[in-house]
Symmetry: C3
């Protein structure tokens, strides 16, 4: 007979027997142990702050309930929350057979990271020295989401090449590094960074790239047929793109000052993002044969304007200033996808699945520079005296600060973010190279089969038809099986 | 010739001629009659309340416009609204050929239910005795969404096995039962249940399970090949999961007290959900061969923490208390999917398509227990006196209530929810067994073809190829046609 | 051998060599030039308004930060933003091979349009005559989103048949026309239109239909096999439908008056939409063979109630009045899909891909009529005196206006919207007929291949199998290739 279905494909010899992706012991153990640790530490340290404690009824005095910080920040918090879980999660579903891993592991590490971030950031920033407790309210939860964003950015570089246990380790260290870095930048250096161009994006971007460099896989291109998208996986990724794009104004304004600060941060971000879309479409078309648009650019580079305007979002950047930043970012980020990502992979041994260098690292760095310049150029005329003090927090020990010096501090902060990102990434990358974390062999990269029960789509039948047909034609080279079957001996 | 396409598959004999799914008369009739009834009843009863009436301009006196309840609750309302329509809707798209029915019928019954709920809940709770009118504002609309959630939970157990007309009947009775149950629990028993662990989830869960028990289909496994997911239908379901997960803090805080109440309810829910994710991933991996994760668990059990913290969300549960609740729920719910759901189907004749027993019924019950304990343990020290009065509404006729007694009332309320769920479900199930509702035959279950014009995907060609090939090989047993063709005589 | 794969299909002769869809020069040029123009114009004209300027700290006097307009409107703005980018974007993904174009070009023209709208609307409405600057705050950004909505509606009629460059031209003119029309309707005629039934939907709908009439393609049905949906593209479109449906209450209340105005606009819209869902399901089932539901109706007609209640949303329409409007709209819109759209295509030469006539044009017109009647019937008794003045803005030069006259003004405004839509559409349609815009040949319509790098799904192999099989059977008529291959000479 011509056709024999359900024929095992193990004759393809795709198994790498040196790697074992069975995480049946390690993943449950890590999750349960860490969650128990969280419960104990929360029990010892975390309490409601005065705005979320029932004592508010007595302690609020003449304040109206509507002046509880909850009403200033909760709508923005929810937008940020959507960015973290749906935005980042769905942006990473673009691979044809790694959508479960993209959205699922994003979910896992974000849910873990926010708990650890509440503790780490709390020890540095919200500790009540009178009773040794961390007092949390809505702003802490926004900051926890921000902190996790740094780790999710790093995940973008590693997408499809690491195990969930590695991701949990990456997140544990990443959150720790972030909290220290943030404390140095915001409290010690006294830099301003409402949208986290430096603290989140520069740090997270270089953290991920450094880890990717440490985990370089020289033979990865062998499985590159899975490293692309499908028609519908690209549409799924657009869900991520759009929720990130739409809610980025909330991201950059979420912890900005009450009143004009949040208002202005939203405006600057909105405008920068709008400009980025136009230059991204322009460059994407310009650098493709026949002028066709590339979904990779549309999904990613359109967001770069939000990153680059992060630090300066609450400053008087002016509306046209925001447009200029967005304009440049769309160009820079798309060029990055066209030229820099291939260069990094070929010559620098940095494999960057999602192109975080173009979406976060470079635009984040640019954002730090824009922030430093804008801060240095601030003046009483533009801000009003009280506005200047409010915006740059020139109070208490920093009450004698002047804008030009502030600009210098901003530049210093950018260096700190870079150092923490690269240095931390190299250290954590070394840890992740230990052969105990259940990472996939090159052949299993970008394949949900490694860590997920994947439903048997009827589509699976196709490659077999093709296979058999091709066999007949002795044309083995062109076989593109839809999904590899895994050798049963490997488990 | 070897291949003959478009060959009718009616030789498969899949038609059950005793069932007629043609709803061309019944569905339009029910929809139009009920909508006209709604218009008349709204005309007689429903009016704007003082905060949404144009008289507000004169009647608000010294209040600022920002103190209109709209600004306290509208952002939360919108999040709840997203949960009802996108959250529940997309969570039910996971079946490979029932995505239209999942998201579409969810849309239909929610849109109908909210209207009926405004009336039913209004008669019990918002009736202005001076003029006999129900006065509605934003809080009524949140409560209507809540009420519908109970029916949508019940739909989860029946997904793929009932007709839209049955669902409308289920919703009509479900909303009615809910309104009575809610009135008894909240007003008469004076229990607190901001997030609806008892009122919504325990009631809705057992209501659906009891109906499913009444509608048991002993031969259903014959069409079980449609009772699974596809790769992309699982990704669609993750949209539902994530929007439910992200906005659950808004669900539990939407009708909590202004100020600290909403603030605290959000914090408790956020933390409980975060902990649930970790234990769900842990247990999912632990109970699968090779430690692979199961999308069913990730899509559903990760949400159980939000259910279980519902009643206690606005109490001083403490952050670590929330983590403990979430921890237990992730374990309990995942174990439910692994052990209890198969047991219920085999031994209790309860077929639970979405596993609502694990996601709503059990966690809801647990939430009621947690609420009772937390209420009984409340004290002036922890809440402040005014905080205690505010949180538990110890006012007017209940001004002499003490926390321990309140705990007892909470436990009593839980029993009421259980009784209404199980009892109501049996009654409504009996009604739904009447042979007039156009429900599908066993063979048409989980198949959108029964009630929807389904586009002709080119994929449909595949099974035919397979079919013909197999015919040649005399290997009929392994045929898995992608979609059954329906016998034309049945219509 | 029986099968020969990768066989080029150019023997199908599907190439129209008179059209060139290469936009490698035109798209980048237009995007970059216009973005630079935006930067210059923003530099000259656009500044922060007093609520987003750092001077707020000094100029707010006794206001609390929470009374900054940002907190009144930002949550609604974000919902509107989601409607524009995800709602409209995903609603247009329903075509089987035009999902990239649907969501992608929607993204491009919305991002461009909002910038131009800020300028155009600013010159008419927010110009500070003391310094010649446009002062922008959150309300301007909501209005910019509204303005773009008009153009996106027009895109719906043209979906799949125009190039991105044409869409940018359509948007440039559309925004300009909208700004003039809005100024005449709101400022000169002094009509009220909070939800934009007239200004947005009537204008946008007829603008798109008139352009479609000008760009009539008599031979389009040749490629009609691509003008349908797939199973999963229909599910994607439901994302758009639901986000539009859920957030429409925010759309209609976003720029309504503070306090009761926003509160009431939300209630009216919510109720109207709920009623529409029921009659849409009823009519969809009634007009299909076997009573099956049609996804086209569920995706679109369920939204018509939100359109029709737009103008009257902030009036005292009463809850049952809203239900009646929604009831009628569901009927009208579904009938439109069943009878009017085919009629328009056959006899009026108007090809309306998304059916905007049924979703926007007709319901928008109806909304204008409802608004005129409701305004004419307003009275001091129903609104209170101050409420009437607030709702209809009977102040300054219009302080002697009475409701009946206002009703006449509303009717006049509706005519203005119609004239601008039809007239503007004809003019812009004439411009778009120039052969310089890179629009696709009939055979390339509804096909992403024309403007996008489309990933090579394995599914593509199917038609070839089919093709070869059929060739053998000499049964050429039934061939439905999944995706056309494009003739390489055409590029």
């Amino acid at each position: 007979t011509i056709f024999t279905f359900q024929r095992p494909l193990n004759s393809f010899g795709m198994c790498d027997r040196t790697k074992n992706t069975n995480i049946r012991l390690s993943l449950p153990a890590v999750c349960v142990v860490w969650e128990i640790a969280m419960i104990i530490l929360f029990g010892v340290f975390i309490r409601y702050n005065w705005e979320s404690d029932a004592h508010w009824a007595e302690s609020k005095h003449n304040l109206s309930d509507i002046e509880n910080d909850f009403y200033y920040r909760y709508p923005s918090f929810q937008d940020v929350h959507v960015m973290i879980f749906v935005g980042f999660g769905f942006l990473m579903t673009f691979l044809k057979r790694y959508s479960f891993g993209g959205v699922g592991f994003n979910f896992l590490i974000a849910a873990f990271g926010i708990q650890w971030a509440l503790l780490m950031q709390g020890w540095f920033g919200s500790l009540d020295y009178s009773d040794g407790k961390i007092k949390v309210g809505v702003e802490n939860f926004i900051n926890a989401d921000f902190c996790v964003a740094g780790c999710l950015i790093a995940y973008g570089a590693l997408l499809g090449k690491v195990s969930p246990v590695q991701l949990l380790v990456l997140t544990l260290f990443g959150v720790t590094l972030y909290a220290v870095e943030e404390h140095i930048i915001i409290k010690i250096i006294h830099a301003r960074d409402a949208g986290g161009s430096m603290v989140i994006h520069t740090f997270g971007g270089y953290y991920g790239l450094a880890i990717s460099w440490m985990l370089y896989r020289p033979n990865l291109d062998q499985s590159s047929r899975l490293q692309g998208s499908k028609y519908h996986s690209d549409v799924f990724a657009m869900i991520g793109t759009l929720f990130l794009w739409m809610f980025w104004p909330s991201f950059n304004s979420a912890i900005a000052g009450h009143g004009d600060g949040q208002h202005r941060a939203f405006i600057n971000t909105y405008l920068s993002l709008a400009a980025t879309v136009l230059t991204t479409f322009a460059l994407s078309s310009l650098f493709q044969k026949h002028g066709k648009l590339d979904m990779v650019h549309i999904q990613n580079s359109t967001l770069a304007g939000g990153v680059a305007v992060g630090t300066a979002a609450e400053f008087m950047l002016t509306p046209y200033g925001s447009l200029i930043v967005g304009f440049c970012c769309g160009v820079l980020s798309t060029l990055g996808y066209v030229f820099i990502t291939p260069f990094l992979e070929k010559h620098m041994k940095i494999q960057d699945t999602c192109g975080i260098h173009n979406l976060h690292a470079m635009p984040g760095f640019l954002g730090g520079v824009v922030g430093a310049i804008t801060a240095a150029a601030a003046s009483d005329t533009v801000y009003s005296h009280e506005g200047l003090v409010n915006t740059f927090d020139f109070k208490d020990e920093f009450k004698d600060m002047v804008p030009t010096v502030q600009g210098g501090h901003q530049a210093g902060a950018l260096c700190v973010a870079l150092i923490f990102g690269i240095g931390g990434g190299i250290l954590v990358g070394a840890v992740l190279r230990l052969p105990i974390w259940g990472d996939p062999a090159d052949d299993n990269c970008f394949d949900d089969e490694a860590y997920w029960e994947v439903p048997d789509d009827e589509e699976n039948i196709i490659p077999n038809i093709q296979y058999n047909n091709h066999m007949q034609n002795k044309d083995v080279e062109t076989i593109k099986p839809h999904r590899r079957k895994r050798c049963s001996r490997c488990f």
